[in-house]
């Protein structure tokens, strides 16, 4: 079954292959978002968000997919899109019947929003910090390698720089989350 194969790929660390397979469902999501008033970028964002939610869940050993991947992604993308519209334009009217069921609970939705906010904060950090943190946390490079790649005098300098970046990002994220909390309170 294709669903099992994709989940197996994810759990065995073949993320790229899994993403590649899952991306076949993009046209379906795109059609739905465009019909609901979104544009190409919205469609891409919503689809990618759904894939990320799916990917995170699939990594969990106890996750059992109760529907097909396409249905799952469709449902998440639609809910995310409606949430986006709701947040920014309170007057949004749904264009199609909305399924009651949702695969993401309110808690995980909040977590997802927070992580997205963290992503935004990282994007506003500036290229040097973003690059450094990405090399360390995502590409899992050592401090020595990072120092060489980014042209620091040594691993200690790179390390000090990394802490500065984290501290700044943490402060920015804290402020932003607090601010958003106030807005949506």
């Amino acid at each position: 079954m294709k669903e099992d194969a994709v989940i197996l790929l994810i759990r065995s660390g073949n993320r790229s292959d899994a993403f590649e397979k899952v991306y076949e469902y993009f046209p379906m999501i795109r059609k739905m978002i465009l019909t609901a008033g979104g544009n190409e970028d919205d469609a891409r964002d919503m689809f990618q968000d759904s894939v990320i939610v799916f990917y995170k869940l699939a990594l969990k050993e106890d996750f059992i997919l109760s529907s097909s991947i396409s249905t799952f992604l469709y449902s998440i993308a639609r809910n995310l899109w409606l949430k986006k519209i709701r947040d920014y334009h309170n007057h949004y009217k749904p264009v199609a019947e909305i399924a009651e069921s949702t695969e993401i609970t309110e808690d995980s939705e909040e977590e997802f929003d927070s992580v997205k906010t963290a992503e935004e904060v990282l994007n506003s950090l500036g290229e040097p910090c973003r690059k450094l943190l990405s090399l360390f946390y995502y590409e899992k490079k050592s401090m020595v390698e990072i120092a060489q790649l980014l042209g620091y005098s040594g691993d200690k300098t790179a390390k000090a720089q990394k802490y500065k970046c984290i501290e700044r990002a943490r402060k920015m994220l804290g402020d932003k989350l607090e601010h958003l909390k106030k807005i949506f309170a």
Partner: protein
């Protein structure tokens, strides 16, 4: 007491599950007792998750770019793409040769924009923004109209080397006015200061575009730590100010002034509390506040406030007034991608959807407007290539204004 660095390191070990069992228990106990530490752990966890997610998104974007380029989505195939490419090139070449940069007629197009009350303004010629003798330059990253006659902007980094964002740029983006302090004469109660006074320009309009982190990155890259308070950034992105001058590109220059000359954000308060007024009116109010401070201080402090006064007076003299809104302008237009020209039909559809609610004519007008911006942007890029570097110096555009301040008693 632990240093911040040690704290971060320990949190990192905790999140990576690298602490031994007793260390972990002790750390968790500390977290229970210290809400601040608990919050720091939570934030750091979110950040690491954000970095991972950002990486996954980059992978997904790569797949997207490979599988679903815009042309593929449109279902055109390579022949269609080639045809569209030729068509787009013809349009660009036509516009290029029929749009001299100093001719405002190029800018003419129906703006599908709204005024402050959300009413649509249709049929407004864009040449009325700048007058017929203005040249216009488009910023690479945000196609906002900038007036070349505006010395503040000429002096800003917006005009300089925006081909290479990460490369060297001018250290200082602030506009620092000049002034002359006359020597004190014995027995004289007042000392005169000559301050540059700028000739007020006719009322101008701003195009309001969403302020994004890209703008800040671009503008404050080197000064972010020192100048840009993140809370301020968040304020500007608040929905509350969405349709006010606070959400305009022009307001960034006021922010710089507020950061420089504010006492506990009081100047910013003046802006946020006087939103119904026009921007230049509030600029004048702020200038007067700063002048009062100059009157009540001496020495270096006085010079500092005088600079502030001159800065805000200058902003006021530009007479930025009515704001036009382009509510549906999204990041597509901010990227300055010329290939978007080929997607005109699709974009018009977007603007005419329920989401935006513009009529077909308005949507087409808006699209033409941005298309023209791209043409200007390319002209500017060309100018950079040919002239190597364009130097925009502050020009003597003003006359001296004498401000009488009380003599300092020292």
């Amino acid at each position: 007491m632990r240093s911040e660095l040690e704290n971060i390191e320990e949190i990192e070990k905790y999140l990576n599950e690298e602490l031994s069992s007793p260390e972990k228990i002790a750390f968790e106990k500390r977290m229970e007792a210290d809400a601040g530490l608990k919050q720091q752990v939570q934030l750091q966890r979110l950040l690491v998750a954000g970095i991972e997610q950002s990486g996954w998104r980059a992978e997904l974007n790569a797949i997207h770019a490979r599988k679903y380029s815009d042309s593929d989505i449109a279902g055109l195939g390579w022949r269609g793409l080639l045809l569209l490419g030729l068509l787009a090139s013809s349009v660009i070449i036509f516009l290029f040769y029929h749009s001299p940069i100093n001719s405002a007629s190029v800018m003419v197009g129906q703006d599908s924009v709204r005024n402050m009350n959300g009413q649509r303004i249709v049929g407004v010629k864009t040449d009325s923004i700048f007058g017929s003798d203005s040249s216009v330059v488009i910023n690479e990253n945000s196609p906002v109209l900038l007036n070349m006659n505006n010395p503040e902007l000429q002096n800003s980094s917006e005009y300089n080397q925006h081909e290479n964002i990460v490369q060297e740029r001018r250290e200082v983006v602030h506009y620092y006015p000049t002034y002359r302090e006359e020597s004190p004469s014995p027995g004289k109660l007042y000392r005169s200061y000559s301050i540059r006074k700028f000739i007020p320009q006719k009322e101008q309009r701003m195009i309001a575009l969403p302020v994004t982190s890209l703008d800040y990155d671009f503008h404050f890259l080197k000064e972010a730590d020192r100048l840009m308070d993140y809370k301020l950034n968040a304020l500007i992105e608040t929905d509350k100010y969405e349709k006010t001058y606070i959400a305009t590109i022009q307001f960034r220059y006021r922010i710089e002034g507020c950061l420089m000359y504010a006492e506990k954000a009081d100047l910013l308060d003046v802006y946020t509390k006087n939103i119904p007024r026009q921007l230049w009116q509030v600029d004048s109010m702020v200038a007067q506040i700063v002048l009062e401070r100059a009157k009540n201080s001496c020495g270096e402090q006085r010079i500092f406030w005088l600079k502030g006064y001159e800065y805000f007076s200058f902003l006021a003299s530009q007479r930025y007034g009515e704001i036009w809104f382009t509510p549906c302008v999204q990041r597509n237009y901010r990227k300055g991608q010329i290939y978007k020209v080929v997607a005109e039909e699709r974009e018009v559809r977007y603007f005419t959807s329920d989401y935006c609610g513009l009529s077909i004519e308005e949507a087409e007008g808006l699209f033409t407007y941005f298309k023209n911006m791209y043409v200007f942007r390319d002209r500017f890029r060309e100018a950079i290539k040919t002239e190597k570097s364009l130097e925009y110096y502050y020009r003597d555009a003003g006359v001296a204004e004498t401000v009488i301040l009380p003599e300092c008693q020292k």
